[in-house]
């Protein structure tokens, strides 16, 4: 009799083991950080009348890519009262590569055409776009010019 109880117990535990685990419904669990990347426009950086690097919101309806932002930056501030340090150019195609926390941008300008403060504009615009699309704020940017030595820096007005 006791035999039977013991074996029933054993079979019961096995059955429990077979049914007790698996893919039943669960409660809500938290995972990784939520995605980001939507935006009503792009953030470009120009200089105001006092020579301060200032962010300008362009209502493009979407965030767009880093290339889009730089291309828009290269087309100039328009009639907003802000000025750019970058030499105007008709070629706005750039190449952006991201490797870890390193972003490298090939711009269609010489180092002289870009100027030092103009390079800050490029770096800040690229980083703003990168951060807004969910990138790391610790990214450093290397700018490659058509002529002149590359420069690696971060944006002075972004944390």
């Amino acid at each position: 009799m006791r035999q039977r109880i013991v074996s029933a117990l054993a079979i019961g535990s096995i059955a429990l083991a077979l049914s007790g685990c698996g893919l039943g419904p669960s409660g809500v669990e938290q995972g990784a950080a939520a995605p980001t990347g939507v935006s009503a426009g792009m953030t470009l950086y120009f200089y105001d009348s006092s020579g301060t690097l200032t962010a300008q919101q362009r209502d493009t309806g979407r965030l767009g890519s880093v290339q889009d932002a730089i291309a828009l930056l290269l087309t100039g501030p328009g009639s907003s009262g802000l000025t750019t340090a970058l030499t105007p150019t008709t070629v706005t195609r750039t190449e952006v590569r991201l490797s870890g926390d390193q972003m490298s941008i090939v711009v269609p300008l010489t180092a002289t055409e870009a100027t030092d403060v103009g390079t800050d504009q490029i770096v800040c615009t690229a980083l703003a776009s990168h951060i807004q699309s969910g990138g790391s704020p610790d990214t450093t940017v290397t700018v490659h010019f058509t002529v002149g030595s590359d420069t690696t820096r971060t944006c002075p007005v972004l944390p």
Partner: protein, 506 residues
Amino acid sequence: MMPSWMLRALRASSGLRGRLIGTFVAVMVLGAAAAAWAGVQQSTASLISSHTDSAAADLISRVTQVSPSVRYPPRQDSLDQLRNAVGVNALVGFDGNTSSSGFFASGWESVPSDLRAAITAQERSDDARVSTQRVEADGTSWLVIGTPVMITSPEGERAPSGIEVYAAYDLTDVGQQVDALVRGAAVTTALVLPLAVLLAILASRSVLRPIARLRATAQSLAAGDLTARSESAGVDELAQLTRTVNEMAESLQSSMESLAQMEEGSRRFAADVSHELRTPLSTLTAAVEVLHDVLARADHADLSDDDARESAELAFHETQRLVALVEDIMEVARFDAGTTQVRRETVDIAEVARECVSVRGWSDDVRITRGPARSANGRSVTVRADRARLDVILANLIGNALTHGRAPVHVEMSTRDGGVSVAVIDSGPGIPPDDLAHVFTRFYKADTTRTRAHGSGLGLAIARENALAHGGTLTAENRDGGGAVFTLWLPLGEPDASETPEEDHR
């Protein structure tokens, strides 16, 4: 009907072996099942966890990838674009508008309410995160992942965009993997079973073998072999028990030996006393006989003193009685010593009974009859027995019946149970029930006040010993109509080819 092996198994299961094996197997299988269960649980948990993490990472990556190209605030086509990027089972909602497909075909209703509440809460928190939940739908397990889409400022501050994205992943594949895990665990547990049985049998054998040896020893002891011992090896409880049993047998043997010696001594003493008494008694008997005769013949007045004659008469009878008593005691002593000899020959019991009665002058009081069941061939009732001893038995029974019961005494002979039965029935009041059990006890007197009764008090005991020496029985009982019945039963005995007397040591 149950097959014999099942009955055997049933019997075995109720014994110590069965319980040992059962417990052992149960423990092992339980252990294996518990280990397998824990393993499966852990594996399943990590399988689900890794699957969930990779699905969430996939969703985040898809949303992150497409978000910069999605118009904001989104229109219906933007929502569709986002939904397409996420996958087939997806729902994208913004401000009352939704774009849904597959699992979420019925819109918000298909989103688990717990999950939606959690997403709403996440949107408001500083650190918005992806939320996951497993649900059951149409018998299939689904992993539903929901997340708010955030707007990040260039400074890195995040704010809710109002867009919520949900994606569902079919867990059938994972379920199959879990099933495979469970199957593997079940097979492992099942494989443990024969191993457990094997180990249990080996273990039970090591326990039960000493027990079987002990049992054999105890049986030998019970059968009278006091030299039986068990080997004891080791220091466990069974070895201790074995040693204890051996010690017990040892002390039993020594006490039995001393008891046997004492008994032997007392028997020898009784035999010696009787023997020593016989010689002076013989002399005394002769002297008293002479005295008796002289007194009987004497006619002279000075000697014909009645008192003296009476004394001589008394001395004569008491001496006769003393002689008979000593003879009886010696007979009993011979029985006790086992030196009695039974000389078997073919005798007719009826003839022996007639002779016994006529020689002792009891013919008037005794009727010898044949019972209704005669021998098949109608011959006289014959057995293989010692004629002299048969005479002693019958004389004792009939004498006892005449003395303690009342005449007439009936001696009935019949054949029964492959032997001959002789019933001696008296016409007295019967034996008191209290004494019935003791009538064959030596020196037992039914009436304690009549200490000077006739006989030695050994007659029935000797009759019984004689009956036993022939392989027969002698029993006493009371008849319904009054009167004691002593029934002697003797086996017919194998007729010997040679008629030489055979010796039978009791």
